[in-house]
């Protein structure tokens, strides 16, 4: 029988990998967006594990909304990326410094 702890460990590892990806990646905005998706996936797995083991459906409802919001955010992030690429012809993360003081 798979214990709840194992699911939480898997979710924590996915989360850590996503965070590491955001730290390591300095050159590619697409990788940044994909790491955010990984983090959201880890959190969703966590919610569903708890929902199963505590016999409460609210965890799955919340994951439903997380999926919705993550899809919308990915779409808009990619739209911004496309517009930025049209202007600057590069997808370097360090080129996004026009708001820098």
């Amino acid at each position: 029988m798979i214990a709840l702890f194992d699911y939480l460990v898997v979710s924590a590892i996915l989360f850590g990998l996503g965070v590491a990806g955001i730290f390591i990646n300095r050159k590619n905005v697409i990788i940044l967006l994909m790491c955010v998706e990984l983090i959201l996936l880890a959190v969703s797995t966590n919610f569903i594990a708890f929902s199963h083991y505590l016999q409460d459906i609210s965890g799955q409802v919340f994951v439903f909304f997380i999926l919705t919001v993550a899809a919308a955010e990915a779409a808009i992030g990619l739209a911004i990326l496309v517009v930025m690429f049209r202007k600057k012809k590069t997808i370097d993360v360090e080129e996004l410094d026009t708001l820098k003081g």
């Binding site: 797995t45 919001v69 739209a79 496309v82 517009v83």
Partner: protein, 179 residues
Amino acid sequence: MRAVLCLVMSFFAASGLWFLLNAEFLAVTLVLVYVGAVMVLFLFVVMMLDVELAAIREGFAKHLLLGLVVSVLVIASLVYAVGTKSFGLEASIPTLQSVNTNNAKILGEVLYTNFLYPFELAGVLLLVAIVAAISLTFRRRRESIATEPSKQVQVRKSDRVRLVIKMDKEGLPTPKGEI
């Protein structure tokens, strides 16, 4: 490119995990919506933008150490916080559910009664996302010669006709010039 496909694979794996956790509706939704739409969108964008790859590889090593340290710290603190006795994980016993539970039906019953308001708000959020994405990236075709009927109706005579030479009574042009 490979990174996107690996992420697709991890989404499939997570979907399998969710099937094990008796969340069949959400697992299928993950594959259909998340992988099928969002990841395909990522693939389209990756294939559309031709980026020079050589500049991307540099700078990897010096950030690698910091990234690994931070991620190991995060994972360790999460696992430690969950594994202690005071978290109470032993109290939740994994229950076996009967095969006949319909996850989609249970979700639907809850979503349309208790969580109706957030459900409708999620719909509005998706609408806003559609409008935002289209308004950000829409480019009007410059050479399009489409007609605009509203402008056609608003035309005045002075926009279209200009009298250049004024004729007098015999039909000969006066040396007046323009009116």
